[in-house]
Amino acid sequence: MRVGIDGLGVVGLRVARELIATPGVEAVLARSSRKGRVELAQASLGEALRPWGDDEVPDLVVLCGAAGTHVTAAGYWLPHGVPVVSVSDDPADVTALLDLAPIARHHDTTLLAGVAFSPGLSCILARHAANALDEVVELQVAMVGAGGPGCVKHRQRLLSEHGTELRDGEWIEAPGGSAKMLTWFPEPIGARDVVKGNLTEPLLWRRLFPTATRLTARGAVDRSDRVWGRIPRPGPRSNEADPGAFVVEVQGTVGGVVESLVYAVLDRPATATAALVATLAPMLVEGTLQAGAHGVAEVVEPLPVLKELARRGVKAATFDAA
């Protein structure tokens, strides 16, 4: 298969590297809005990656560009019958991409939105947890970290904006930076404050768990971010080498008894995103996933994906209370 990658930032490069190492991938076609980026990637990854010509139609398109660019690109490729994966974590992108479902169904192809570390892998673990419960009542996620410098800035913006969450079965506003809560992530990250913001999981989880009454998402912010908010500052405040993590907690009942399951992943967000995309790529190209536009956890079984991710080095953990 030939996979087209639109956007070669930190996440795009990681996706390219992971795809090249995936059996069945003949070539990775790449394009970037930044001059010289494709040549740089080619020098690092070899001839398996090459510039994406204007008239080339790949077997799969992975959108790794900046948030806000994904909907137009997906709208172009779906009518060609090409499956599309978007790694955007922006709620506006995800909502607009899911609205493309009729186009994807009409052309008998699949669009997966929100395929990243959180959302994406967090949704797969949430569904894995939910499979062990009779009824799902409440889900919450907290995340720290981001893919690269662009993702850091974007994540910072999302956490300063108002989002939505589900409480008692009703959508309510989640003010950016509000409801600070101490959360324990796997070491070496440890305990971090997380706050609400304009995050995507509640939107995707509502489609997965329509009977759940409470859906909440939080993200970690640095102290400097809490002081300066959206005031622009020079340079990235994080780099690709920084590990990220998310913790997802699912509450429900088993046999009428209240049960709570907690899962986490500690990894570099860009690396985990790349492993997830590479795991899904063969399924999308072979057409084994349902046509339409979906969140990733809506159309894949969690266990095979988690096993393949573990094989690729992305391992989940569960919290055992003492």
């Binding site: 101490l182 324990w184 809490r226 573990a310 391992k315 953990a317 569960t318 919290f319 055992d320 003492a322």
Partner: protein, 46 residues
């Protein structure tokens, strides 16, 4: 002029107190974590 100086002083103090509260919070000593993380493997993934 005196009123303006007082207003500026009051705003400055309010900002200072606000900044301290925003940075320090009011939560006191956080609770300690009980339990620990265990990697999913074997039976967890069947």
């Amino acid at each position: 002029m005196r009123a303006v100086r007082r207003a500026v002083m009051a705003l400055g103090l309010a900002g200072l107190v606000g900044a301290v509260l925003r940075l320090r919070g009011t939560g006191g000593t956080p609770p300690q974590q009980q339990g620990g993380w265990r990697e999913l493997s074997g039976d967890d993934l069947r």
